[in-house]
Symmetry: C2
Subunit: 208 residues, 2 copies
DNA sequence: AAGGAAAGTGATTAATTACTTGCATGAAAC
DNA sequence: GTTTCATGCAAGTAATTAATCACTTTCCTT
């Protein structure tokens, strides 16, 4: 019987968890399932992780890091903010669409109630993402491509909510529609909401 | 020992499920928990429902019906579409903010994998809601208060996604922020995206 | 080659949980 | 008043599952 280093095994286990979560949802992924997928005995899992939740934590951590890596160029890039935002949405949705386990993991009840630390990890990722987005919006405002009266914080939160909602819908629909193409749709709605309005026309317009 | 009719008990059980779900999340609401809350023995649950999932189904069904009731006036009302949409968002968020069990129930893994019928109930509610919203958007377009090039179906889906995302954030945050006040925020972003644009000004404007 | 740490296993365990069974009892119908 | 039946319960079952234990095997270091 060949053996593998702890590092390797841990990665295999995390990978198996994510794959299984994508297939079945987080709830029924038991340590037995994971062990079977990896090809080791169930107790061996506990050689590598102190308990079940630690596997979840490791998985979230790994994905969260990767996501921020992928998106960093959009946040700290130089170009105009609107172009970067548009690209950001596309990349983000593409990233998620390749990892079906992620939404299932994040939306899973097990995750939220069972381990406060786990919940904190998720919140941390979302918060960090949101505040970077807020920063991007601010840049856009000072660049003049977004409307001056835009509330960066509120808007950032709403954009994140919109993405979450989309992803949830996608997950609930068993990944039936191509998530990565929703970036365009989203942008079509978002763009006129962010864009600085044309200079006010002389004639009176419809008012609420 | 006083006894109650099946009808009454069923309602009590559904109510207990919703309350407990709001408190703990759907995952750990066991039949024992429900029984304790109602004040009956655990096996008695199964006198009133054939199995656990049937309770969930009943709960969803009840809430879904109530939601559509509350929102119907906004869908089929007479006023201008933008006013009705704005009101719709407010009412919807208020409705949900009073029923914390609902998001926990809808987002719960248990619901989605365990019983396809349950999943169908949720999808049905969402689909019905989305298509009514689409209709409202169409009305708005022909009334002239929404932009002519708005894609009603896509936009309706996005609005629903936005609400879902908001609700999810609210639920993940343990209901920390007042959901019903997010209607205004949402509208602030949405309004300029839907509104028919001012007539094109003579001077060239920023283009991508 | 020796020795120790790390990776692996089968056998168990303790807890949880949906659901069954057999029996009792209250309330309404006759 | 007795029959009937839905409502109720205590006790139990079968299945699942995270985690432990005692022990073996492999690999790395010296």
């Amino acid at each position: 019987m060949k053996r593998k280093s702890g590092e390797e095994r841990r990665e295999e286990i995390v990978r198996a968890l994510l794959d299984l979560t994508a297939e079945h949802g987080a709830r029924d992924v038991s340590t037995q399932d994971i062990a079977d997928r990896v090809g080791i005995a169930q107790p061996t899992i506990f050689r590598h992780f102190p308990n079940r939740d630690a596997i979840f934590r490791a998985a979230l951590d790994s994905i969260g890091r990767k996501l921020l890596d992928v998106l960093t160029p959009m946040f700290s890039g130089r170009g105009s903010a609107d172009v970067r935002l548009r690209k950001l949405l596309a990349r983000q949705l593409r990233f998620i669409s390749r990892r079906k386990g992620l939404p299932r993991l994040i939306f899973s009840e097990r995750l939220h109630r069972e381990d406060p630390e786990l919940k904190a990890v998720v919140r941390d990722i979302i918060d960090r993402y949101t505040s970077r987005l807020e920063e991007l919006l601010r840049e856009g405002i000072s660049q003049g491509c977004f409307r001056r009266d835009l509330q960066p914080a509120e808007t950032a939160r709403l954009i994140v909510a919109m993405i979450q909602g989309l992803v949830m819908r996608w997950s609930l629909s068993d990944f039936e529609f191509p998530l990565d193409q929703q970036g365009e749709v989203l942008w079509r709605l978002l763009e006129p909401a962010l864009r600085t309005p044309e200079p006010p026309p002389p004639q009176g317009s419809t008012r609420t």
